[in-house]
C-alpha cells in the first residue's frame, strides 16, 4: 500500500516537473485558425481560412509584398498588349513539390480549370473572380497571353491569389485526392498531412525558387474558440493567432511570451440605410444620421484606437480613393437641425439590426448616438447564423438600418466595395435592397469595364462625391487586424490580412 502511494506521488511529481507537453521544437511554427477550409485544392473554395493556408503552399503569377505592391512571382514580368489582352513572362527553372518543372501548360490548365470553357456547370466558387478571362494562349515555353472578353481592370488583382497547380500531377491523382491527400504546388512549404478540424502539417520545400523558409515545419491548427486560442498562445502551444479583439490586446501585450502586431486592413464599417422607405428616403435624414455619430470617440474608446475614419466606404488603400473628401464631422446640433428641416422636429422611431456580434458595443454606441439626436433607434442584435441570413436576404425591409462591415475580399480597388454595397443589380449584396441613388449603378458599371486607370480614378472620385452627399449609409471607419505572436517568432501583420509565413523568422 505504502509502495503504491509512493509511486503515485512520484508519478504526480514527474508529471508536474515535466516540461509542458506543448513546448515546441525550434524549427516548427504553429498557427491557429478558427477552422479549416473544406479542401486544400486552392481553386475549389474561396474562404479566408483556406486562402491563408494555400498561399504558403502554392504560388500565383503575381505576389503582393508587405507594402502591398505587386511583385513578380511565377511571372517575372507582365504588360498589357491591348485593352483586352495581357502578356506574362514565366519564371524559368521553377519546380513543383513533386519535382515536375513549371510550364506554360500548367498556367493555362489552372485557369481553365476554373473558367472551364465549354462547360455549363462551373464547379469552382472562384469562377466569378475571373469569369472575364476568355482565353489563355501559350505563345512559347515562357510566354502566355491572357485574353478577356471586355476590359478587365481587376485582372492583376485577381491573379495575386490565383494559385498555379501542376497539370500532369492533377490528371494522375484526380481532383478529390488533390484536395485532401496529394496537393502539390510550387510554394515554400509542401504538404505532409491533414487531419480535418485538427491540423494541417507542412514541411519546407528544398527546391523552392525563393530559397528555404526559416521554419522547417508549419502546422495550421483549427481552434474555433477564442478563449482556447488565447490559452494556447499563453502556453506556447500556438505561435500565432489572428483577429485579436481590442479588449484582449492589453492582456496579450503584457504577457511575457507574446506580443501583438496590428495593421490597417481593407475592412470598412458602415451602417447601411434603407432608402426605399421613411424616414431614410429623405437625404437630409440620412445626412443627419452621419452627423449624429461620434466616430472618433468610438475608435478611441471601443476600438482601442485602431481605426481610421473615412468619408465614404472606399478605403484609403484602395485604388480610386479620393483623399480630398472630408468625412462627416460629429455635429449633433446640425443633425437635429437637418432632422427638423426634413419634417422630423420631434424625432422619429427607427429600427436598426446587426449580426456583427464581435462589435456589439460599437453597434450599441451607434444606436445610442442616433437616439440622442432624435432618431430613436430600436436596436436588435442577431446571431450571425442562418436566421440572420434569411432575414437579410429575403426581406432586407424589416429594418431601417443595418450595421456591418465589408472586407473587399482583399481586392485593393474601389469596385470591390462599391459594387457589392451600392449596386442594385439582382444578386448584389446589400445595395439591391437598400440603395436607390440615381445614376450610381451606371457609374459603377462604367468604371468597372475600362482599363484606363486615370479615367477610372476620375469616375471613382465622382462616385465618392456623390455617395458622400447622398449618404446611402452612415460612414464610419476602417478596421485594423491584430495578430498575437509568440516572442520567439518575428512577423508583422499585413494590410491584406494574409499570413505570408515565408516572412516569419525566428527571433534571436
Amino acid at each position: 500500500m505504502r509502495h503504491r502511494l509512493l509511486s503515485l506521488l512520484v508519478a504526480v511529481c514527474v508529471l508536474a516537473l515535466a516540461p509542458s507537453a506543448q513546448a515546441q521544437p525550434k524549427d516548427t511554427l504553429t498557427v491557429a485558425l478558427v477552422s479549416h477550409a473544406p479542401t486544400l485544392d486552392p481553386h475549389m473554395h474561396f474562404e479566408r481560412v483556406g486562402i491563408l493556408v494555400n498561399i504558403n503552399m502554392f504560388d500565383s503569377l503575381l505576389h503582393r509584398n508587405t507594402k502591398l505592391e505587386y511583385e513578380p512571382s511565377l511571372a517575372t514580368s507582365w504588360k498589357p498588349l491591348s485593352d483586352t489582352q495581357w502578356e506574362f513572362k514565366l519564371r524559368k527553372g521553377v519546380k513543383f513539390h513533386n519535382g515536375d518543372p513549371l510550364t506554360a501548360e500548367d498556367v493555362k490548365f489552372s485557369i481553365e480549370r476554373v473558367t472551364e470553357p465549354g462547360k455549363e456547370k462551373k464547379k469552382s466558387p472562384q469562377y466569378g473572380n475571373i469569369r472575364a478571362i476568355k482565353d489563355v494562349r501559350i505563345v512559347d515555353a515562357e510566354t502566355i497571353h491572357i485574353v478577356t472578353d471586355k476590359p478587365f481592370p481587376l485582372l492583376l488583382e485577381r491573379l495575386v491569389f490565383f494559385p498555379i497547380v501542376p497539370r500532369k500531377h492533377m490528371e494522375k491523382v484526380g481532383d478529390d485526392a488533390f484536395g485532401t491527400t496529394a496537393p502539390v504546388g510550387t510554394g515554400p512549404w509542401k504538404f505532409v498531412e491533414w487531419k480535418r478540424d485538427q491540423y494541417i502539417r507542412l514541411e519546407a520545400f528544398d527546391g523552392h525558387w525563393r530559397g528555404k523558409p526559416a521554419f522547417k515545419h508549419l502546422v495550421i491548427r483549427a481552434i474555433p474558440e477564442v478563449a482556447t486560442q488565447i490559452a494556447e498562445m499563453k502556453t506556447g502551444g500556438v505561435d500565432l493567432i489572428r483577429n485579436v479583439s481590442a479588449d484582449l490586446v492589453p492582456e496579450l501585450k503584457s504577457h511575457p511570451q507574446t506580443y501583438v502586431s496590428s495593421s490597417p486592413i481593407l475592412r470598412v464599417h458602415y451602417v447601411e440605410l434603407d432608402m426605399r422607405s421613411a424616414p431614410f428616403d429623405k437625404k437630409l435624414v440620412r445626412q443627419a444620421a452621419n452627423y449624429a455619430i461620434d466616430k472618433q470617440a468610438i475608435i478611441s474608446k471601443l476600438m482601442g484606437g485602431l481605426g481610421q475614419q473615412v468619408a465614404t466606404v472606399v478605403q484609403p488603400k484602395a485604388f480610386g480613393f479620393d483623399g480630398d473628401l472630408k468625412p462627416y464631422p460629429y455635429d449633433p446640433a446640425k443633425a437635429k437641425t437637418l432632422l427638423a428641416q426634413a419634417g422630423y422636429a420631434n424625432g422619429v422611431d427607427i429600427s436598426a439590426h446587426s449580426a456583427f456580434i464581435e462589435f456589439r458595443p460599437v453597434f450599441e454606441a451607434i444606436t445610442q448616438m442616433l437616439t440622442e439626436v432624435g432618431l430613436r433607434t430600436n436596436a436588435r442584435m442577431w446571431d450571425p447564423g442562418p436566421a440572420w441570413n434569411k432575414f437579410f436576404q429575403t426581406e432586407g425591409k424589416a429594418s431601417n438600418a443595418a450595421y456591418g462591415s465589408w472586407g473587399n475580399y482583399s481586392v485593393f480597388d474601389a469596385d470591390a466595395v462599391l459594387h457589392p454595397l451600392f449596386h442594385t443589380e439582382p444578386g448584389g449584396w446589400i445595395g439591391k435592397h437598400y440603395t436607390r441613388v440615381e445614376g450610381l449603378d451606371k457609374m459603377i458599371d462604367e468604371a468597372r469595364s475600362m482599363v484606363d486607370q486615370p479615367r477610372r480614378r476620375r469616375i471613382y472620385s465622382q462616385i465618392q462625391n456623390l455617395i458622400r452627399e447622398e449618404a446611402p449609409a452612415i460612414y464610419l471607419f476602417t478596421q485594423y487586424d491584430t495578430l498575437a505572436i509568440n516572442k520567439r517568432v518575428e512577423y508583422a501583420a499585413r494590410g491584406d490580412e494574409w499570413l505570408w509565413l515565408f516572412d516569419a523568422k525566428p527571433k534571436r
Binding site: A16, T39, G385, T394, G427
Partner: protein
C-alpha cells in the same frame, strides 16, 4: 424507426425554414449562377420530393454529398463519430465513478458533513455550464499549472480536460439520483432483514440495496447520454476536438443540409440504441419485467 422518421422530418423542416444555402455560398453571384448551383444540389425540386428522396437514401446510409465539403455527408459524420462516442463514454464513466460512491455514502450517512458537502456540490455543479467549466479547467491545468495541453485530440493527456468538463457536468444529476433512490430503499424491510441475518453492511448496500436502487439510475443514465451528446457539442468546440457535435454546429452555420441531417440522424440512432440497451438492463435488474 418512428423516432428516426420524426427526427429527420423535424430537422428537415427546420433546415428548410432557415434559409437558402446557395445564397450563402455565393453571396455576390448573379441569380443565373445561383440557379445552376441550386439545380446541381437538387434544391430546385418541391420540398416533398426532396424529403422523399432524402429519406429513401438515408435508410441506406446515403445522405448525399455535403454542400461545403463536397464529400459524402455520412462519411464525414462517421469519421468523427468515434471521437464523440469516446468522449461521452469516458465522461459518463467518470460521472458514474464520482456519483456512485459519493451518492451511496451520502445516503448512508444522511445529514452528515459528507452529505451536506455533496448536496452543495450538486447544486454548484448543476449550475456550471460546460463551456465555462471547460475554460476554467484550461486556465487552471493548462495555463496556470502547465500540466495538460490546452486543446486538441492527439494524446491521452489531451483527453483528460474535456472528459473532466463533461463528466462533472453530468455527475451532479446522477449523484442526486443515486442518493435519493438509495434513501428510498435503505430503510425498507428487506434491507433490515438482510442486516438482521448478519450480512455485512458492505454487502447489504452493494448487493441488496443498490440493485433495487439501480433502476432509476439506469433510466437516468440512458437519458443523460442524450444530454451528454449535446454537452459534447460545446466541449468539442472549446477544446478543438474533431467530433460530430462541432461538425453539426459548423454545418448549421453553413446551411450544409446533408451534414446536419446525417449528423442528427446518427446521433438520434445512438440515443435510440442506448435506450434499447437500457430496456434490456431493466429485465436483468428487475426480474418482474419480462420480454415477451
Amino acid at each position: 424507426m418512428v423516432v428516426c422518421v420524426g427526427v429527420s422530418l423535424v430537422t428537415f423542416a427546420i433546415l428548410q425554414a432557415s434559409g437558402d444555402p446557395v445564397a450563402l455560398m455565393m453571396p455576390e453571384a448573379p441569380e443565373s449562377d445561383r440557379a445552376v448551383l441550386r439545380q446541381a444540389l437538387g434544391l430546385h425540386e418541391p420540398l416533398l420530393v426532396q424529403f422523399g428522396r432524402f429519406f429513401g437514401r438515408a435508410v441506406t446510409g446515403n445522405f448525399g454529398n455535403s454542400f461545403f465539403h463536397r464529400a459524402p455527408a455520412f462519411g464525414l459524420v462517421m469519421e468523427r463519430m468515434p471521437t464523440t462516442l469516446i468522449l461521452t463514454v469516458l465522461a459518463m464513466g467518470l460521472a458514474l465513478l464520482i456519483a456512485l460512491p459519493v451518492g451511496i455514502y451520502s445516503a448512508v450517512r444522511r445529514g452528515r458533513a459528507v452529505d451536506q458537502v455533496a448536496t452543495g456540490t450538486v447544486f454548484l455543479g448543476q449550475s456550471m455550464p460546460p463551456f465555462w467549466t471547460g475554460i476554467m479547467l484550461i486556465l487552471l491545468f493548462a495555463v496556470q499549472w502547465r500540466l495538460l495541453p490546452v486543446s486538441g485530440w492527439e494524446s491521452w493527456a489531451s483527453v483528460v480536460l474535456p472528459t473532466l468538463t463533461l463528466g462533472t457536468f453530468t455527475a451532479p444529476l446522477l449523484l442526486r439520483i443515486v442518493r435519493s433512490s438509495m434513501l428510498e430503499v435503505i430503510n425498507l424491510d428487506y434491507v433490515r432483514t438482510a442486516r438482521a441475518k448478519g450480512v455485512s453492511e458492505w454487502l447489504v448496500i452493494c448487493r441488496h440495496a443498490l440493485k433495487n436502487a439501480a433502476l432509476p439510475l439506469v433510466t437516468v443514465t440512458g437519458l443523460q447520454f442524450g444530454l451528454l451528446l449535446g454537452g459534447a457539442i460545446i466541449t468539442e468546440t472549446v477544446f478543438a476536438i474533431p467530433g460530430v457535435g462541432r461538425l453539426i454546429v459548423t454545418a448549421i452555420r453553413q446551411l450544409d443540409f446533408p451534414v446536419v441531417q446525417a449528423g442528427v440522424f446518427m446521433l438520434a440512432m445512438v440515443v435510440v440504441s442506448l435506450n434499447f440497451v437500457v430496456d434490456l438492463l431493466y429485465v436483468y435488474l428487475d426480474p418482474r419485467i419480462r420480454l415477451r
